[in-house]
Symmetry: C4
Subunit: 250 residues, 4 copies
């Protein structure tokens, strides 16, 4: 096997013949997780300031690693199919995954000159997802995806009911509490925030009804909200039960 | 096919022979959703004021559309059955759905002269529900309805338990906290608001026990409340599991 | 059929041969619910004061009704079995259900002379439960009871885990936050209130960690708390699924 | 049977031939629970101070009991296997369970001289867990463990999604609310506390978004959080359903 073929197999998860991920892809997954953790921690001045040098070094090392990885992928892309190696490479460069990688890479390098593009640094997590789909958890992910997919219509109907309940609840509370608490319930879009916080049972406590009528309406909506949680759970439970059975039969 | 027959098939979802909804009904569904969104957004002065003219235009266009739709339905109702076309039209006018449409339509037109009847504008969402029952999600809705229906007695018993737990919880906290916090726990109806907020696990934080006895009782009730959520979820999960199996067999 | 036999069949739910409840028992169920509602509403001065006379009348009528019912039961208890009618009546008087009824009745009569024994008035709800077990929802109640019973050991283990998690969580937060917030986390019993409010996901907001260590520990405990809700729900879902299957087979 | 063999059977749960736990182990379980309760209550000065003498006595009695138990275990360990009794005893002393017991025992004795090692006193709960695995609930525990184990990969994927959602949510709110509320959303690690409190639907109310953008993003994340609870519940429900079926067949 040539070095190029070896590189290709190591980098391309689908070309890896054994189970799980190749050693190089395992290393890259770890590097992405470290880079994400660094990006997260660096936003906190209390951590970033005393460890500034460490963060800079981590970034330089990881930036270099991702740079090498990009060019290694580009070079080994020639293995993908027969025919002109440059056409394969052009295809690689134009693929969405490689374009995202390039943008993130450019942002990482630019950051050395002062730009802070936080979301771009987190985009790399998508890569972890892509790799996870091929790793040890692939069968589990497939089962979850197939369970959700088999009930996508039931789940859509539940989401529709949830949306309708949100609008109905917000309208009711707007009519009942709008005059007393204009800041929180003065319009339906404002009351929608209350409806979201209530139906998800979060209940921060920044907005809540204070009139008797508002409390009665809120109680009805709150109990309907339990159904909102019970429905998708029940649907998914039934789907998982079936997905597992099928998976074992087939 | 005559124009009247074509109109009837386009407007009457049950007369549409193909799968899903007719193009005209799809347009009307979109129009209803836009009208609802406009009604929701218009209650917020920060949105309504700078876009007043746009909202007015949307309403005029949609008002005209719903007007045309009503008369087209009236005219094509003659296709419904053999016999006198006027009897069919009279039946259409007297049907609950058409009466609701007429009231909403009248309210929309009246609104141009200054009346704001918010709830009526939202009633149109019922139409979306009616159409959804015949559209692509109809099988999913039937499955959900049949699952809930097959366990209506179990769910009623759970609701009964929930109601009893509400009353017991409110009574306990009224007895334990009523003297310390008369405003929140001074009577059972007042304590019921606490019971609702606690058993649904919302927990706004506007009312909570402060005495040791109240906290102990609240803890017991809070854990019983987990069962309150677990029961209907478990019942629905079992029902969905069965509903899907039956649906596939039949 | 003698009047005594007719009375017995009307009053004794198990002696009623047809499906559901007898007309007299339906009336009594309604009377109990009205009495409970009156007891609940009467605790609120804003309702009780303007409607004082109405509440008094309702109580007099219902008090008389429950009095008549008790003596009718006593008289017709002679139908229960062969042998001395007085022995049957003595057995009825000594039965727990009749003793509870007698105490509640005495309390209701005493209340006319100024005593307010709120919990006793709510005890009557137990009667509704007893009647519900024999009414239309009896099969559903049996299925729920059998589902819970078949998994009582799994549910007990889950409750044990919940209790352990409560103690561990309270201890952790007491150690991490005890110095900073002595009023809320100064001892494990105090921190237990936080643990209950957090693990049930109520989150009133009266107590929450403020230190970094406390927030980290609380995060771990909060996610473990999701399992606390997921476990019994999953167990019950599986049990209901099976209970229904058995019920239909047998 | 010699006294040593009798002691061994009483103390070693696996050597007990009948169902459940031996009388001595039942007594020890009760003693551990009492010791834990005493350790918990003693942290509260309002309880510890007036009952100081009682707590001291309980500790002396239980300390002596656990001392006797340790030496009885050490002595009877010779029954474990053929060969040198001292080798068996050395193995017992070196076993992790006995080492933990020894450390806890030492801490209990040291406490009489003023040291308060709270966590060590709670470690004994591990013993209860160990005994519970062999007692009446052993089959239920096995079923729960096997259900969780059979879906460990699905649950790991769900945990991964939850972690990703936490990071994405915290990043979004940091970007949208960081400037307005620097204390709560000024960095991603700070925003993570909000994300945990929101996704677990606790909602203490110490941190919540106040801008329109932040509320919109929080709404989306909150609804995604419902899936976070529905997924593991559904997975566990399916697993329990299957675990029970298998357990009854085998």
């Amino acid at each position: 096997m040539t070095l190029r073929a070896w590189t290709y197999r190591q980098l391309e998860p689908e070309a890896w013949l054994e189970r799980g991920l190749s050693p190089v892809n395992r290393l890259l997954t770890a590097a992405i997780l470290v880079a994400t953790l660094a990006a997260v921690l660096e936003t906190e001045p209390l951590i970033a300031m005393p460890w500034a040098l460490t963060f800079q070094r981590i970034e330089h090392v990881l930036g270099a690693l991702f740079c090498v990885e990009y060019f290694a992928r580009l070079w080994s892309a020639a293995e993908r199919q027969r025919g002109s190696p440059w056409r394969s490479r052009a295809r690689f460069v134009a693929s969405p995954a490689a374009l995202i990688d390039l943008v993130v890479l450019a942002a990482t390098l630019a950051r050395a000159q002062g730009l802070a593009l936080l979301p771009l640094r987190l985009v790399r997590l998508l890569r972890v997802l892509r790799l996870a789909k091929l790793g040890r958890t692939s069968a589990a992910m497939r089962r979850i995806a197939s369970a959700v997919h088999s009930r996508r219509e039931e789940l859509a109907v539940t989401a529709g009911f949830a949306l309708a309940l949100l609008v109905v609840g917000a309208t009711a509370l707007h009519l009942l509490e709008g005059v007393v608490q204009p800041k929180s319930f003065g319009s339906i879009p404002r009351a929608l925030w209350w409806a979201v916080v209530t139906l998800t049972t979060i209940g921060y406590g920044d907005v809540y009804p204070v009139t008797v009528g508002g409390k009665c309406a809120a109680s009805v909506i709150a109990f309907a909200g339990i159904g909102l949680i019970a429905m998708p759970t029940g649907i998914l439970a039934a789907a998982f039960s079936e997905a597992h059975r099928h998976d074992r039969v087939s």
